[in-house]
Amino acid sequence: MPEPILQTEALTKRFGAVVASDDVTLDLRPGEIHALIGPNGAGKSTVIKQIAGEVRPDGGSIRFAGRTIDRLDMVARARLGLARTFQVSSVAPEFSALQNVMLAVQSVDRRIYRFFRPALREAVLVEPAMAHLERLLLDDRAEVRAGDLSHGERRALEIAIALALKPRAFLLDEPMAGMGPENTAKLVEILDGLRAEAPILLVEHDMDAVFALADRISVIVYGRIIASGTPQEIRSNEEVQRAYLGDEGDDGAA
């Protein structure tokens, strides 16, 4: 089994009396999609936020790309190769889709402090950015203000930005949220191809998408991982059935 690229070790986070993360230990290995599922409020996003550096854990440790990253802030973690998307789309609304992706491209080539040359005329920025948009089927929307994009397009734009970071791992927080079935199907296909570039830790409510994509699934309830395994194992796990999947069956969107 290959070495995991990302590991959380007994991650714990409390908000007042609520334990949002209770001893969360999970890992992400090269080439895989590891889905994190659970009911609303189970603490899935809190795990993502702690890994990305937005929320400081009360206990536990995170290793990424061979080092402990507990002391690094969000910027440093992103630079190390953690690319994250948000549960609620977070883009620069006044920028075009293209400019949003260019921001990530220029961050990767580490030359932000250039003051004179127009960025939109730099082929080294525009061309890769366009290629990433194309991959997310957004190339004909490149000039549209991100704030004017449809909900689904903004979700896709976030993934294009993440892609532009050439990350070593993706953290995707409900990328399918609010998408119609057609767009979800397209996105499933795109994410399927993405795992070859970097493994994906995927938080998602759409169970069809999860079971179509995931190599492994961890189920989190009340901040605690109650089961972890292949999709088949999870599907047949009784505790998971009781706590979460219930009798919703295969099409059980939560």
Binding site: F86, Q99, Q106, S107, R117
Partner: protein, 326 residues
């Protein structure tokens, strides 16, 4: 050419025409007013980098404006008194050369902006406004209580500082110097706003979380913009001291910070010639309404409220409409 570009050219041309007409009709006061517009427009162009492009509402830019002014005043006073600034570890004389005074003013205000920015930019929103204000007030009270350079009374510059090849005492010559510097600052702002750095700065203003997520530190980007902003405003301060041949703590007062901000808001944030247009409007109003009533500020206040409520883009926004991408 876009509509904003056309209007910008028109404003620049009008600002050039005013003193020439003043000269032709023997109205030297018009030249002085135009020079004031160019200098205050330059101060606003500096603030626009932080306030407009960076979304950093600084109420402390008087600190940089005043420091630039004091650099000009102090260097000139030492030169005119033949007293070195200091003698240890090496002797540094004062100077009346603008070409030396300007870089010193830019560096001094830049260092001040680095210190003030590094501390203030850890906060945001109202706290940022208050902290920048507090730092400027510190510099203000320091100037008042330091008798060596005039304290509360300020410091006179007996002869306007010199520029090679020009007679700076000729109002038109001095106007030309200020006008060219304004245009240079506007041109640099234009380049900056479209550069990689401009992209990052605008990104920090729109969505700092997004910027951090792609691995660019919003703090460092903002601090850089704040320093550049302070430098430009500091240069304007040095020119302002030369215009009045006088520096006083009032250049450092919060009232000055407010005025510079008003220029930017009147003209339109993130509009290249917005600050110059705003300064022009302000000064024209001051001298027309000011003659009608001493309560002209009341009218200005009403105008400002109307602009902020109904025309976020300021005067240039009204004339040119919405800008394209950011």
């Amino acid at each position: 050419m876009g509509r904003e570009a056309a209007i910008s050219l028109l404003i620049a041309a009008a600002l050039l025409a005013a003193p020439l007409l003043g000269q032709a009709f023997d109205e030297p006061f018009v030249i002085t007013l135009a020079t004031k517009v160019a200098i205050l427009g330059l101060a606003g162009t500096g603030l626009n980098l932080a306030l407009g492009y960076g979304g950093l509402v600084s109420l402390g830019h008087a600190a940089f404006f005043g420091l630039g002014g004091y650099v000009a005043g102090i260097l000139a006073s030492h030169a005119l008194n033949y007293e070195p600034l200091f003698t240890w570890p090496l002797t540094v004389e004062g100077t009346t050369q603008m070409l030396i005074i300007w870089p010193v003013a830019i560096v001094v205000s830049g260092v001040a902006a680095l210190v003030i920015g590094a501390l203030s930019l850890r906060t945001s929103g109202v706290f940022f406004i208050m902290i920048t204000l507090a730092f400027a007030q510190m510099v203000y009270y320091f100037a008042i209580s330091w008798p060596a350079y005039g304290g509360e009374d300020g410091l006179s510059i007996y002869i306007r500082n010199e520029f090679p090849g020009l007679n700076t005492l000729n109002p038109l010559h001095f106007f030309a110097v200020c006008y060219v510097l304004l245009l240079v600052a506007v041109a640099l702002s234009f380049l900056l706003s479209r550069s990689r750095f401009g992209l990052a700065l605008s990104g920090a203003r729109q969505n700092a979380q997004r910027l951090a997520t792609v691995g660019i530190s919003p703090f460092r980007v903002r601090l850089t913009a704040f320093v550049l902003s302070g430098m430009v405003t500091g240069l304007a301060g040095a020119l302002y001291a030369d215009l009045n041949r006088f520096v006083s703590p009032s250049m450092l007062s919060w009232h000055t910070s407010g005025e510079i901000m008003v220029f930017v808001l009147l003209g339109g944030t993130r509009r290249l010639l917005g600050p110059a247009a705003g300064a022009a409007l302000y000064i024209v109003l001051e001298h027309t309404l000011g003659d009608v009533s001493e309560h002209w500020m009341l009218l200005l206040g009403a105008l400002l409220v109307a602009l902020v409520l109904f025309a976020r883009g300021g005067v240039i926004g009204i004339l040119a409409g919405q800008p394209r991408h950011a």
